[in-house]
Structure formats: structure tokens, C-alpha cells
């Protein structure tokens, strides 16, 4: 409503208004192909916090990757900030180039988990790479939610 009101006054105003109201209406950095700190991700499960983050248009950012190189790959555990909270998540889809027979997704996907490794949501609505099935560990809990594998 605020947008429509301001659009009457001038053309420049709506953008200024949105910038003023939300933190930032567009991103100033390119999507990272490599998952390192501050890479923007997409939550693909139906957890409440993930949905809320998608609604306000603020993607979660990686703040730590749980491996020695600090660069995330398929199946790695990451720490992300979602709506100002720190959450753990698993990478289940990457935009960067992959090896043969491993799918490359159009977005960098993560699934949120709690501290014990149990997923926060109870459904994943995107395809999951089939190669993750061999990894084991906490990933098996995530894979049991998946509806489709590619």
C-alpha cells in the first residue's frame, strides 16, 4: 500500500521508500558459485524460519563451513544466518560446475537442521542429487524427506 501511494507522487520514490523500509531491495553482490563465507543460499525445505526468510526476501548467508578448507561442496555442513539467527544446514544443490553424472542446480540449495542434525522442516520440494545417498551420516535424515532424486 505504501508503494502504491508513493508511486502517485513520483517515479523515484518507491525505490527510495523500499530501500528505507527494508534493509536492501536488491543485492549488490553477485551470487557466489563457490560456497564460502557470506555466500547467499536458498532454503528448500518447508521450515517456518526458512519460509519467513524467503518472504522478506533476505536470503540466508553462510557464515561458516564445517570443513578444513572453508569452501562448501555438495553434502557439506554449513552455518548460516537466517533472520538474524544462526542455524546449521546441509548443502543439497550447487550452481557451480559439477563432475560427470552429478547434477548442477540453478540455485544454491540448503536444508536447515537443528543442533542434533534433525531437519527443521518435514518436506523438501526440490530434487536432490542422487550422489548424496552414498554419504551417510546426518544426511540420511534429510534424504528421507526428499520427494525426488536426480
Amino acid at each position: 500500500m505504501a508503494l502504491s501511494m508513493s508511486s502517485l507522487s513520483s517515479q523515484v520514490a518507491p525505490i527510495a521508500l523500499r530501500v528505507a523500509t527494508t534493509c536492501c531491495c536488491f543485492s549488490t553482490s553477485k551470487t557466489h558459485y563457490e560456497i564460502r563465507n557470506l555466500a547467499r543460499m536458498r532454503i528448500v525445505d518447508n521450515s517456518a524460519i526458512g519460509k519467513a526468510a524467503a518472504e522478506i526476501g533476505k536470503p540466508p548467508r553462510v557464515i561458516h563451513v564445517y570443513n578444513k578448507k572453508n569452501i562448501g561442496h555438495l553434502g557439506d555442513k554449513v552455518l548460516v544466518t537466517v533472520k538474524g539467527e544462526m542455524r546449521r544446514a546441509y548443502i543439497v544443490g550447487l550452481k557451480q560446475k559439477q563432475k560427470a553424472n552429478v547434477p548442477r542446480m540453478d540455485t544454491n540449495n540448503i536444508v536447515l537442521v537443528d543442533d542434533n542434525g534433525n531437519p527443521l522442516g518435514n518436506r523438501i520440494h526440490v530434487p536432490i542429487p542422487s550422489c548424496l545417498r552414498g554419504k551417510g551420516g546426518d544426511l540420511t535424515k534429510i534424504l528421507s524427506l526428499a520427494t525426488k532424486f536426480v
Binding site: 560427470a100 553424472n101 548442477r104 542446480m105 526440490v126 552414498g134 532424486f149
Partner: protein, 340 residues
């Protein structure tokens, strides 16, 4: 004694036609003859069997003719022949038929790298043999960028041990055993691309569901196009083309999404997209990065292509081998039908 043997050897070498393999063979036999001084040799004895790949058809036939004290290998190995093989013996059709001119578009991975720095003829030859051996096992059909394909790969973790993916071929490349293609599809609203290596042993089958070409050599711009352009059903039925029909070209023009794009598509001179609305900045970029002189650079074109004679010889070899494989398949299929 030794001197006389050497003389004979030298004579032999001179009298022999200058074929490399034969020459090498003669030389090795010479060396052997020098050391075996105890045997009363009038001529160097052939010690090792060397396969001469350059033997003509007639020479091979002569070698396999019935002779005294000679058992044909088929008689010796009779017990090994499987009953499935009866009727599959294919008479090799050495007609010397050259490959059709467009064969290099059908199987571009057989062509070597045109850059001479990366050439290795022996490696290329061996890779070609391996590729043909693989092609004898699985059917790698003719396909182009823009064709809709289905690939089944082995997947040890899936319940059926196989994983099938359907999509449009957006890229094809690589040479030799590293040849690959990329399929793209939209699954549950998310664009998915998978790169497959054509000669990867985990690939079970490659099927072309719809054979067609697109206007561009690579379709990576589909990533920045609406999803309906790269959405294909997984249970799509294969569309058959009439025999000897030319490959149809799909001339659909894709409307790209507004920016941001993955690449600056306006600079790629793409034919498969609708005309873009160019901003002055874009026009400036196009002008700065255009290379109009490359159209007239004959040397560049020459360097980017494999020598025509070489291409012809390679493609003839591949074509003959492929027709042989095809013939064997047909006859084995006929045998199976007869058994039923």
C-alpha cells in the same frame, strides 16, 4: 659366418618394401640371429609373431588358406565358440567406402584437436579403438545440440541401481574418450543440468527422444530464459523420423528474462533468442568486444580445423568400423529372432 648372416640381413632389409613395421621386424630378427650362432642358419629365422596391420584383404585370405600341417584357428577353438555366435560371423566388407561428408558432425568426438601442440597420433589411434570398442557395446546414437535425450546411468545407491534423466542437450564437446554432453531439464520448478561423459562405463544407455537441431551451438542461455523452454516430461515417448530424412532444425526464438544474466548474452551473436533491447552501454560493449576481422582471417580458420585429408582418413576408418559393428548387431538380432 656372422658376417655372411649380416650381409643377408642387410640384403633382406633392402629388398623389403619400406613398411615401418616390417622393417622393425627384420631388424629385431637380425639381432636375434647374431646371438644364436650355434644354430646352422642360412637365413634369419622368424622368432616372434608380429601383427602387420597393413596387410591387404588378399594377404589375409592367403594366410588363412588351408595348408598342410596347419589347423585353422576356428577348428582349434571350436569348443570355445558359443552357440549364440553361430551365424554371426560377419564377412568384413572392405569396400573402401569413404564416410559421408557430414559424418564429422555426427561423430565430432573422433576428430583430433586441431591444435598441433596437443596432437599425439598414437594416443588418438588407441583412443579411437577404445571408443569403437565401447560403441560396439552400447548404442550411442546420432544427436545434436537441441535434441531431447534420455540417459540411464548406473547408480549404486538408488533402489533400481540405475538413474534416468531426460533433458535437452545444451552443449556437446570434448574429444576422444573425454567427449561429453550436457542435458538440461526443469524438475519440480528447479533447473537441473547434468553433464554426461559419452564413453563413461557407468552409462547404461543413451536414447534420443527427439532428434533436432537448434540455431546455436550452445544453449546455455536457457538458464536465463523462462523455465518452460527447458521443461520436458520424463515419460516422453521417442519421436521417430522417417528414414533418410534430414535432421529438422527447431527455429524457435527464446525470449530471455530481464537482467541479471549469467553472461552478457548480447555479445554472443545468438540466433535462437528474440532481439534484445540494447542499452547504449550494451551497444558500446558489443562494439568493444566484436572481432569483425575474424571473418576474413583465413589462417585462423585453417588452424581451427583438422586437415581435410586426415579428417577423411579418420572418418573412413570410423565409418567402416561402425558399419561392421552395425552389421554384426543386425546378424545377431537375426539369429536371436530365428532362435525364438
Amino acid at each position: 659366418m656372422a658376417a655372411s648372416i649380416a650381409q643377408i640381413c642387410v640384403k633382406n632389409i633392402r629388398s623389403f618394401p619400406l613398411r615401418q613395421i616390417d622393417l622393425v621386424y627384420q631388424q629385431t630378427s637380425c639381432v636375434c640371429a647374431f646371438f644364436s650362432t650355434s644354430s646352422p642358419l642360412s637365413q634369419p629365422k622368424k622368432l616372434k609373431h608380429v601383427i602387420n596391420y597393413q596387410r591387404t584383404h588378399a594377404e589375409v585370405a592367403r594366410a588363412l588358406r588351408k595348408k598342410q600341417n596347419f589347423l585353422h584357428h576356428e577348428m582349434v577353438d571350436k569348443h570355445r565358440a558359443s552357440p549364440l555366435q553361430s551365424g554371426t560371423e560377419q564377412v568384413s566388407e572392405k569396400t573402401g567406402e569413404a564416410a559421408p561428408r557430414d559424418y564429422r558432425f555426427v561423430m565430432p568426438e573422433f576428430l583430433p584437436n586441431p591444435d598441433f601442440r596437443y596432437r599425439d597420433k598414437i594416443l588418438e589411434k588407441m583412443e579411437r579403438q577404445d571408443m569403437l570398442r565401447r560403441r560396439a557395446v552400447i548404442d550411442i546414437p546420432e544427436f545434436y545440440v537441441g535434441s531431447i535425450m534420455a540417459v540411464t546411468v548406473s547408480d549404486p545407491h538408488s533402489p533400481g541401481k540405475t538413474n534416468r534423466f531426460v533433458g535437452i542437450c545444451i552443449d556437446r564437446g570434448g574429444r576422444g574418450l573425454q567427449a561429453y554432453f550436457v542435458l538440461r531439464n526443469v524438475v519440480d520448478g528447479l533447473g537441473v543440468e547434468v553433464m554426461y561423459e559419452m564413453y563413461n562405463p557407468t552409462v547404461h544407455s543413451i536414447q534420443v527422444l527427439k532428434l533436432e537441431k537448434r540455431l546455436d551451438e550452445q544453449l546455455y542461455y536457457l538458464r536465463n530464459a523462462p523455465l518452460e523452454h527447458s521443461t520436458f516430461s520424463f515419460d516422453m515417448q521417442p519421436v521417430t523420423l522417417p528414414r533418410d530424412a534430414p535432421v529438422p532444425v527447431n527455429t524457435t526464438k527464446v525470449k530471455l528474462n530481464p537482467k541479471p544474466w549469467e553472461y552478457r548474452w548480447e555479445r554472443f551473436n545468438l540466433k535462437g533468442i528474440e532481439p534484445l533491447e540494447l542499452t547504449p552501454k550494451m551497444e558500446k560493449g558489443i562494439k568493444a568486444h566484436a572481432k569483425p576481422w575474424e571473418d576474413y582471417d583465413l589462417m585462423l580458420k585453417y588452424r581451427q580445423k583438422v586437415n581435410e585429408d586426415e579428417e577423411k582418413s579418420i572418418m573412413t576408418e570410423v565409418f567402416q568400423e561402425n558399419t561392421r559393428i552395425e552389421g554384426e548387431r543386425k546378424s545377431s538380432r537375426a539369429v536371436l529372432r530365428r532362435k525364438k
